[in-house]
Symmetry: C2
Subunit: 186 residues, 2 copies
């Protein structure tokens, strides 16, 4: 039944919400401290009415400088972006240049950086190390990554009830184990 | 002359801006990846005018769940809050319960957590490990920390031109060295 969980509008759910719920689960059980960053907003005008809360009356969305999520797990700095796609490819139009550069900087400074990609029509979620995304993104002429490549290089994230998306168990299995044994990613 | 730098309104400067400029310096020189989190805002109403950017017309400030700054330095997860005070004490009214709990969680999970406190009338900035702040905050009847205590337990942050506030050199000297030798904070 867990496997039947679909990322559809009908369910009234989405990848972002599932990650937020998973982070809440990790936080409440004192497993990890990972948050979504607030949406960056350029505030232009604020009203200060008497006896009630300050009200922002003019503001604009800004481009995020970094990724959406970061935090701390078992002493490791964790940083990732999460994206849904309805097709069998991840188009680079979905990610900014400076987000790629940010993920690259995180790897360079010893953090764990990845993308979580949900293929909504397949109901599959993958964790892909940022190195693959960065390499493809910087290759001439390549404007997307195929599902097959993500399936090959990435790791399927288990969907369950709590946590909804257990992406930290992927980190345990493939990053922290690699770190101990042979560390092929560094 | 650097020592003459004052945190006054006249100078048109403040602690937050100095930290932001320092983080920019660290980022551009590829020393560290540390950002201020966007101000958390509850967005209620958005207009989508034709041919121009989406305009937020009703929004409210939310309490931050965490601290203002986090990032990555030499493989370490870094997390801190920055506060100015005009008096010779740091009043706990300046910090939220859940920010204290957040800093505590960061230490528990192996991150580096601290407060940067600017005494604006003295023109002195200190980095104080979160453990001292947490302990005092949770002591019965204590509603502030005195300057003398912060001076004793904290570390003076050098003010210069670039970076304006070299707080990472404090991390080098007192955290990373401790880590290698005896690690008394863990
Ligand atoms: Mg995003
Ligand atoms: Mg703050």
């Amino acid at each position: 039944p867990h496997e039947q969980k679909r990322y559809t509008g009908m369910r009234g759910m989405n990848l972002e919400e599932d990650i937020t719920m998973s982070n809440k689960y990790y936080l409440e059980r004192d497993i990890a401290v990972i948050y979504k960053k607030p949406t960056p907003v350029q505030i232009v005008k604020v009203d200060y009415p008497k006896r009630s809360a300050a009200k922002i009356t003019e503001a604009y969305f800004r481009k995020p400088s970094t990724t959406d999520y970061n935090g701390l797990y078992k002493g490791y700095y964790i940083d990732f972006e999460a994206k849904e796609t309805k097709t069998l490819r991840f188009p680079f139009a979905n990610i900014w240049d400076h987000q790629i550069n940010h993920l690259d900087a995180i790897k360079r400074h010893g953090g764990i950086a990845f993308i979580i990609i949900a293929f909504t029509t397949l109901n599959e979620v993958y964790l892909l190390d940022a190195s693959y995304m960065i390499e493809k993104y910087r290759s001439d002429g390549v404007r997307h990554i195929d599902y097959d490549y993500i399936k090959e290089k990435g790791h399927l994230v288990h969907q369950g009830y709590a946590p909804r998306l257990d992406y930290l168990s992927v980190i345990d299995r493939y990053y922290l184990k690699e770190e101990k044994n042979e560390n092929p990613k560094k």
